[in-house]
């Protein structure tokens, strides 16, 4: 009885979460423009999607900003985490409080605050908002996540490893790159992936800092004012598939690694 209720409840929650998305994906294969009557299977909306220069351009912009901002954020954030880790407690707390502001603040406030500054800068320099301001904004909201991902790995690390490397004659730079970095790599990697996905997904902050530069979410927002073409359904389906395969890949890799460490422990 209890089990039945549990299964039913979980089933309903998943139905609620997935029904709209699956409907959207299913109708991307519809042969007519209807979004409620399925008239036949067709791939024409996918063909239309790939021949739409606006959507493809925005997709390119989105990927460019995501990759660049994730790389920059990962470098700055990892270095910052290593530095912050060796702070005295009070200084560390103070910096972390400021670092967490973009996470805790309503996104729209982060968006307009950056916009105000970028508007001022563009007035002084005669440079309208665009790619540069979006990139700076994305790095800004990504770095805190990298820091939060890397710090726990540093805490788990044996603090004497770094000192041992120095005692054995490694230069500080070499010790960091060859001893510390490998230890915290899982945190660095998840910080990078998180940055990548947050950047690709961001709409609110980009909306206020993009000027005429269009990323995919911003383009979809302007399109939402009219009934959307089914090629947007096709796009959603492809994005969904992409994320699904990334998640499965991550899971398979971590499962393999888990098995490997288990085996090594057993030896």
């Amino acid at each position: 009885m209890k089990k039945l209720f549990s299964a039913l409840w979980v089933g309903l929650v998943f139905l609620f979460l997935y029904f709209p998305i699956l409907v959207m994906v299913a109708f991307s294969f519809n042969s007519t423009t209807s979004k409620s009557v399925f008239t036949g299977f067709s791939l024409k909306w996918y063909a239309e999607l790939f021949s739409d220069p606006k959507l493809m351009g925005a997709l390119g912009n989105t990927l460019l900003v995501a990759v660049l901002s994730a790389i920059i954020a990962t470098v700055i954030g990892t270095a910052a985490a290593i530095g912050i880790h060796s702070y005295p407690k009070r200084a560390r707390n103070a910096v972390m409080n400021i670092s967490n502001i973009p996470i805790i603040n309503p996104e729209i406030v982060t968006g307009i605050s950056l916009m105000l500054m970028f508007v001022m800068v563009s007035r002084w320099m005669g440079l309208p908002m665009g790619f540069w301001s979006v990139l700076l904004a994305h790095v800004t909201f990504n770095v805190p996540y990298v820091v939060l991902n890397v710090l726990p790995k540093l805490r788990q690390m044996n603090t004497h490893l770094y000192e041992a490397a120095l005692d054995l004659g490694a230069t500080p730079r070499r010790a960091l790159l060859r001893v510390v970095l490998p230890e915290i790599m899982p945190g660095v990697a998840s910080g990078f992936l998180m940055s990548l996905t947050y950047s690709m997904d961001d709409f609110v902050i980009t909306r206020f800092t993009s000027g005429n530069f269009q990323t995919l979410p911003v383009l979809i927002y302007t399109m939402l004012k009219k009934p959307l073409p089914l090629s947007v359904n096709a796009l959603s389906a492809l994005l969904f598939l992409m994320v699904l395969s990334i998640l499965i890949a991550i899971n398979v890799i971590s499962a393999k690694r888990y098995k490997k460490t288990q085996k090594e422990l057993a030896k």
Partner: protein, 268 residues
């Protein structure tokens, strides 16, 4: 260790891109025609009902999310470990779909001749007018933010040792008493984090009400119109944003009085 230096670029970044922009918000909020003034707040006061409406929506959606998420997270936390992982993945998966597309997917099925009405029609019901209603806005918020409630709840509940529940039952407590006296107190930090993670985006959201509601604005939509479009007014927009930010900080502060977990750490 001389590694402290490594944080210098980030400290500069924080100063330039976090602190300075917030100073700009404060500056614009209190900047009148002739220097410092409260005139932006006099204008902003007209929009108090909008703020109230947003907070009510946020409160309602947080409550609904909590009611839906609590049993879900509990059920997940009592499953086999490998199944727990799968369930969690399935909860996170829709979050990776862009927020605008999720809103769009809701509008498709809620339309007058959308799929939900078609299903109601099979039972001889409807068609109902579901779009452009307050209920649709609430549904949109719950749909978008439910995973943010489930994840922190699950993360604390999965740490509750099953033997505690058995012990409670062995000592004669009913299921309800166990829930009230054992599960609830132990899951409290998760409740606090979940409330923060749903309430703040729900209170400051825009788009949801524009797409699913009757066209009336929530506070997020209002802020947008003051910054983008034909009637921009950075002063009033900043004034409203500052109020929103301070309200949210107070909200977090009050909730954290009940619980000392670090919000930042709980987000991951």
């Amino acid at each position: 260790m001389k590694t402290k230096k490594l944080s210098v670029p980030y400290l500069l970044w924080l100063a330039i891109f976090v602190v300075v922009p917030l100073v700009f918000v404060v500056y614009f909020a209190f900047q009148g025609k002739n220097g410092f003034s409260f005139e932006n707040y006099v204008t902003a006061a007209k929009y108090l009902p909008t703020l109230g409406k947003s907070l009510v929506y946020a409160l309602e959606s947080t409550l609904v999310c909590l009611l839906l998420a609590y049993p879900t997270a509990y059920i997940f936390s009592r499953m086999r470990t490998d199944r727990q992982k799968t369930m969690l993945l399935l909860i996170m998966l829709p979050m990776w779909m862009n927020f605008l597309l999720r809103i769009y997917s809701l509008t498709i099925i809620l339309e007058k001749n959308g799929l939900v009405n078609k299903i109601f029609g099979l039972f001889g019901l409807g068609p109902f007018n579901m779009m452009n209603t307050d209920g649709a806005v609430l549904l949109g918020m719950v749909y978008n933010f439910l995973p943010f409630m489930i994840l922190p709840l699950y993360s604390v509940m999965s740490k509750i040792n099953g033997r505690l529940l058995e012990a409670s039952a062995d000592l004669g407590a009913s299921a309800l008493t166990t829930l009230r006296r054992v599960v609830f107190p132990l899951s409290f930090p998760g409740i606090v984090t979940g409330i923060i993670m749903v309430f703040i985006p729900a209170a400051s959201t825009f788009v949801i009400s524009q797409r699913l509601g009757d066209g009336s604005m929530l506070i997020g939509d209002l802020i947008e119109t003051f910054f983008i479009g034909a009637y921009t007014n950075f002063g009033v927009g900043s004034a409203i944003s500052l109020v929103l930010m301070v309200l949210m900080l107070i909200f977090i502060g009050v909730l954290n009085l009940f619980d000392n977990e670090d919000v930042g750490d709980m987000l991951i």
